[in-house]
């Protein structure tokens, strides 16, 4: 039994070294970015730099109506809800009663602006900080962070994406930096226990290793290589002591109720568990925000689930003393039109809202504003790239230092977006 594991470790070590070698191949951070000392030179003195150990991105897919959530308006733009005052001094809508209770922790960016009003392209922009192009796929934040800061845990992945598959993950960075996808938080990480009887395990793996050998030599394909990397990370992870982090059964029933028994709620709970275990970047997706029709009906369900889970997450992190090192961000691909179309609204990228909380971000603060009707920012217009740069800054990444893509082009986090230092207390 013992020898089995030693042998496995040997295989893993070998693969691990190979993987590192491959990761370095065809891709390099410019040499002066090699050491952390150098990297931090300029940004380190600025507020908020390195304030976040982890990031939780709550991604509301479909386009959250800013007017019906965090940027209420009166007059013609007013939706089916009413504006409610919070102890933070700003107003949100009556669709978010639980969020109102944690408003003092929140920082609203009401001056988000973008140009892309189509889901796929706009989601791509919000996830990567870049507009979609035919010839290159850009990495998402978790992968960037892994590139600059390395792994966040010896065996657990540096990035986990909950409720979605890992597309737009690593981009041009190595496949090992792509997020680990958990499509159903209730199910957790399925099939993580080896089913092979211990006596056959070593032999099976040795045979598998040999079977793969010839194919690798024959087919020198990047995706085949990526699969080798996943295979070795899988073997490592299967032996990790921390696998239990994916099991929500280990949470108290009351805790699970607090977050809400739905995919988003349980996803947020899983995100908290992952942060506790040292995972750096977690994305939790919530679907159903594309409210062309029937905003009241959709907010009753999708909106209420979000409200409960988001408020529970903030309160839970605060109560555990984790909020100071965890940056929570509510993102969405665009807002919705100030003009009602029946009981719904169309897509509106020109002005919308994102929310930050934790990790030294100002509490109970509003950054920027849209005009009286909610069409576009009147001050402090904030691009998606700026938001990315701000989050990366909080993670302790000097965002103006480029990474070279395999084809030799320099890229920076947020496509030259600027961190908003003003957001940090």
């Amino acid at each position: 039994m013992k020898s089995t594991f030693r042998k496995l470790d040997e295989i893993n070590r070998r693969q691990f070294v190979e993987r590192l070698a491959r990761s370095a191949f065809g891709l390099s951070i410019l040499p002066w970015l090699g050491g952390e000392k150098l990297a931090a030179a300029e940004a380190v003195g600025l507020a908020g730099f390195g304030s976040a150990k982890s990031v939780i991105l709550l991604n509301l897919v479909g386009g959250m109506s800013h007017i019906d959530t965090f940027d209420p308006k009166e007059g013609a733009s007013k939706g089916p809800s009413t504006a409610v005052s919070t102890e933070a001094g700003f107003q949100i809508t009556s669709y978010l009663p639980e969020t109102a209770k944690v408003a003092k922790h929140l920082c609203l960016i009401r001056s988000m602006t973008a140009k892309v009003g189509v889901h796929q392209q706009a989601q791509y922009l919000m996830r990567t900080g870049f507009e979609m192009r035919g010839t290159v796929v850009h990495p998402m934040l978790g992968a960037w962070a892994q590139q600059y800061l390395g792994n966040s845990h010896p065996t657990l992945p540096a990035t986990v994406s909950i409720n979605r598959n890992s597309g737009h993950g690593n981009g041009f960075l190595p496949a090992t930096m792509s997020p680990l996808p958990i499509l159903d938080p209730e199910a957790g990480l399925q099939n993580s226990k080896s089913v092979t009887p211990a006596d056959a395990r070593e032999k099976r793996l040795a045979l598998l290793q040999d079977l793969n050998h010839r194919f690798h030599d024959d087919v020198k394909d990047d995706n085949v290589r990526a699969y080798d990397d996943f295979s070795s990370s899988t073997l490592e992870l299967m032996q990790s002591k921390d696998l239990a982090v994916f099991d929500l059964q280990q949470e108290a029933a009351t805790q699970r109720n607090d977050y809400g028994h739905n995919k988003f709620g349980q996803g947020c709970l899983l995100a908290r568990r992952l942060v506790e275990s040292g995972v750096r970047c977690i994305e939790v997706e919530s679907g159903g925000w594309d409210m062309h029709k029937d905003i009241p009906g959709a907010m009753e369900k999708v909106g209420a689930d979000f409200d409960q889970a988001f408020a529970a997450l903030i309160a839970d992190l605060a109560q555990r003393g984790m909020l100071d090192q965890t940056l929570v961000a509510v993102t969405t691909e665009f807002g919705r039109k100030p003009d009602m179309d029946g009981s719904g609204r169309g897509h509106h990228p020109k002005g919308f809202t994102c929310v930050l909380a934790g990790a030294g971000v100002r509490r109970g603060h509003v950054h920027g504003a849209t005009d009286a009707k909610g069409y576009e920012p009147t001050e402090k217009a904030t691009g998606v790239g700026d938001l990315h740069a701000t989050i990366a800054h909080a993670l302790g990444i000097q965002v103006d230092k480029p990474v070279m893509s395999p084809s030799g082009r320099p890229f920076t986090i947020g496509n030259k977006g600027k961190p908003i230092i003003d957001l940090f207390a």
Binding site: N165, G167, L180, S194, R204, N223, F230, M238, D294, P406
Partner: protein, 722 residues
């Protein structure tokens, strides 16, 4: 007596047919007369379906072409011959419903009869020499580009590689050991062409094409608000089965009327009925590669499309209404207060009634309130106008459309879009099919063909466009041409870095199997070629839920009563559990054979289970699209995929002694034979001498064939297509 179709037992008159007894008295005629009579009949049927597959009203006169189609178990279905394509017989019953039956399940006589009926149909098959000439011309064009770039084409791939590639590309699964052996031992020189023909004419072709369409058309069971699109899915499969030409199929979808629970093709536009502008942008992108989506909100930053262009073309759908909120509110009201069933059940039962594709008397589309350009005013009504790519486009006959009658706007649009003279329609589908077979389109991305000069080989793209038109949009014939090119049959290239320049098709690309191919490949190992015979069909029962007029408590009761009368289960409320369909729940929905459940895996192919599969299903873990956005099937790796193969239910099923592959291994007499069967089954090739030795060592050292099967399933080579 059981029936061929699940519906039969409930609604159809079942003819007891121990032998071939047709309602037209064939049994009493002598053998020769019978033959003659049959031929006459078949001819009559074929004529009637000359316009196939436009559903003809069932004729009730004496000469009507009814026939009792009987299978080996003496179960029969009374119906009219519609088509025999891809190994699937399509018949229409007296209620006008279509059924598909794998022809191999029929009695020999009926199989022959179906074949005769088919021979009499007008068919657009291209002759073998036409195919060969077209393929050769494509090769010439590719070779020219390669030569110019000082590159060489790859050598031709060997037979085994080609067999695996063709099976996966055309029927969506790997060959069984037996199928591969047959092909390898065939000594005739034209065996590749014959394999292509036979695969294109087998039931797996429909399944494979359905998966391809499902990703592109965002096929989804559940449209939200209780509405389910089963009828659309059934229809799409029927259309592929009868090889409906692409232009007709698209036209059917764009011009359909009616409820989601009533009309199959209406399901396409109803998919986006709650967001019609997005729907227009989706269909222009998918069918024409027109990158107009940005213009929905503002003038396109790079291309020529303006916001006005977008609104003008969207205005062709300005008099179309699909989602009826008033009806949904009625349904919700009934659901809230009803005693008929639980709230969720009532929604599921009646929800489809709010999705009804109708034409309005007036075009409703207006420019948006924040319209900021000078060429139109905010909130002004939009006059429909077609988009064009060049100034000359508008001179083509496709552009002669009539926009004065709101009720006919969609029809006019459909005429323009599906016309062979449309500047992009043929190119878009040709380019997509090329990508399907070569792993990369001639012009990428397939969703943006605005500037055809950006194609990696513009001559090749032009030639493909021409052939698509010459094949009259017959997608099967077109693929026949592509598969017969030397370019397709060459050794594959690793994924090229397009940032370094165009890929000129020295051969197709090495690809990871799509999620659907991987699932169906694993099923092949577990259940053999029989998995092609289980056909899911769930739409018929939806028809019982149609409510004419206002949705009231009374109407809900009536629907409930109808469903009970027909023995249809009211959908259950609450969360759907189970991985890819609880077999007990789904069992009643299969035509052909009911899929078995082995080792925790339901042996139903990817196209024959829920669409899309549930999140924790193998298919989704391996990248099946969630069907929210077009063309998002992915082939990237992940840790959960590896865990699934190492420890999940699929490895459990494959390593069972009763799996098809291990059965075949146990039948093999010698150890070398067993090793060959393993290699044939998993990797579709003979093992090398070294590999045989390695496997022999493994078997001698105490590993079982099941252990070897586990290792082969987990090997990189299994998941990849060369």
């Amino acid at each position: 007596m059981r029936s061929l179709s699940k519906l039969n037992s409930r609604r159809l008159v079942i003819a007891i047919a121990a032998s071939l007894i047709s309602c037209l008295g064939l049994a009493v005629a002598g053998p020769k007369e019978a033959q003659k009579e049959k031929r006459r009949l078949a001819k009559a049927m074929a004529q009637e379906k000359a316009e196939a597959p436009v559903p003809a009203k069932p004729a009730h006169d004496a000469a009507s072409p009814w026939h009792d189609w009987t299978n080996a178990q003496d179960q029969s279905l009374k119906g009219k011959f519609i088509a025999l394509e891809s190994g699937l017989l399509t018949v229409e019953d007296e209620q006008g419903q279509r059924h598909r039956i794998p022809v191999t399940l029929l009695k020999v006589d009926d199989r022959k009869f179906a074949e005769e009926c088919r021979q009499l149909q007008p068919r657009a098959f291209l002759a073998a020499d036409v195919i060969a000439r077209a393929a050769a011309k494509l090769d010439e064009t590719i070779l020219q580009a390669l030569t110019k770039a000082k590159e060489q084409p790859h050598p031709l791939a060997d037979d085994a590689t080609i067999a695996r590639r063709l099976h996966l590309d055309l029927i969506g699964r790997i060959p069984t050991a037996a199928e591969l052996k047959d092909f390898l031992s065939d000594a005739k020189p034209d065996k590749r062409a014959r394999l292509i023909d036979s695969l294109l004419n087998s039931p797996g072709y429909t399944m494979q094409m359905f998966n391809w369409f499902a990703d592109m058309l965002r096929v989804k069971d559940d449209y939200g608000k209780g509405a389910r699109a089963f009828l659309f899915e059934d229809w799409l499969k029927d259309m592929v089965s009868v090889n409906r030409p692409w232009d007709s199929l698209v036209k059917d979808m764009l011009t359909a009327d009616g409820k989601l629970s009533e009309s199959g093709p209406a399901g396409f536009l109803l998919r986006d009925a709650q967001m019609p502008l997005d729907g227009v942008s989706n269909l222009l992108t998918t069918f024409l590669g027109a990158n107009v989506s940005c213009a929905q909100c503002h003038d396109h930053p790079m291309a020529d499309w303006t916001q006005k262009d977008f609104y003008q073309i969207a205005a062709f759908f300005g008099a179309t209404d699909g989602y009826h909120e008033d009806v949904f509110k009625q349904i919700r009201r009934v659901a809230k207060n009803s005693n008929v069933a639980a709230k969720g059940q009532v929604l599921q039962m009646l929800g489809s009634n709010a999705f009804d594709l109708v034409d309005l008397p007036k075009n409703q589309l207006k420019f948006p309130a924040d319209y900021k350009y000078d060429n139109a005013k905010p909130k002004e009504s939009v006059t429909p106008e077609l988009i064009s790519w060049t100034k000359e486009d508008k001179l083509s006959p496709a552009y002669k459309v009539e926009v004065s009658k709101p009720k006919e706007l969609r029809d006019e649009f459909a005429k323009w879009m599906t016309s062979p003279d449309n500047p992009r329609f043929a190119t878009a589908i040709a380019n997509r099919l090329w990508k399907k077979l070569f792993g990369l389109a001639v012009q990428e991305p397939v969703s943006d063909l605005d500037d055809p000069k950006l194609a990696s080989n513009p001559e090749l793209l032009a030639q493909l466009t021409l052939y698509m038109k010459q094949a009259k949009f017959d997608l099967r014939e077109f693929q026949r041409v592509l598969c017969n090119t030397a370019a397709y049959q060459r050794q594959a290239s690793p994924t090229p870095d397009l940032a370094n320049g165009h890929y000129l098709f020295n051969g197709p690309l090495v690809r990871r199997m799509s999620a659907e191919q991987a699932w169906d490949a694993i099923l092949t190992l577990v259940g053999g070629a029989k998995i092609d015979q289980s056909l899911l069909r769930r739409g018929d029962e939806l028809k019982l839920t149609i409510v004419e007029g206002k949705v009231t408590e009374e109407a809900a009761k009536e629907v409930m009563a109808k469903m009970q009368e027909e023995g249809v289960k009211v959908p259950r409320e609450g969360k759907k559990k189970g991985k890819g369909g609880n077999p007990n729940q789904m069992a009643g929905f299969y035509e052909g054979t009911v899929p078995r459940n082995l080792g925790g895996v339901l042996l139903a192919r990817a196209s024959e289970i829920r669409q899309p599969a549930p999140e924790s299903h193998f298919l989704r873990i391996f990248g099946q699209s969630d069907r929210m956005v077009a063309d998002t099937n992915a082939t990237d790796g992940s840790v959960p995929q590896m865990m699934f193969l190492m420890n999940g239910n699929v490895q459990n099923a494959v390593t069972l002694a009763s799996s098809t592959v291990l059965q075949a291994v146990s039948r093999a007499a010698s150890q070398p034979d067993k090793i060959t069967v393993l290699y044939h089954s998993f990797l579709g090739r003979n093992p090398t001498a070294d590999e045989s030795k390695r496997l022999a060592t493994a078997l001698d050292s105490g590993l079982t064939p099941a252990d070897c099967a586990w290792a082969l399933l987990n090997s990189r080579e299994f998941l990849f297509v060369r």
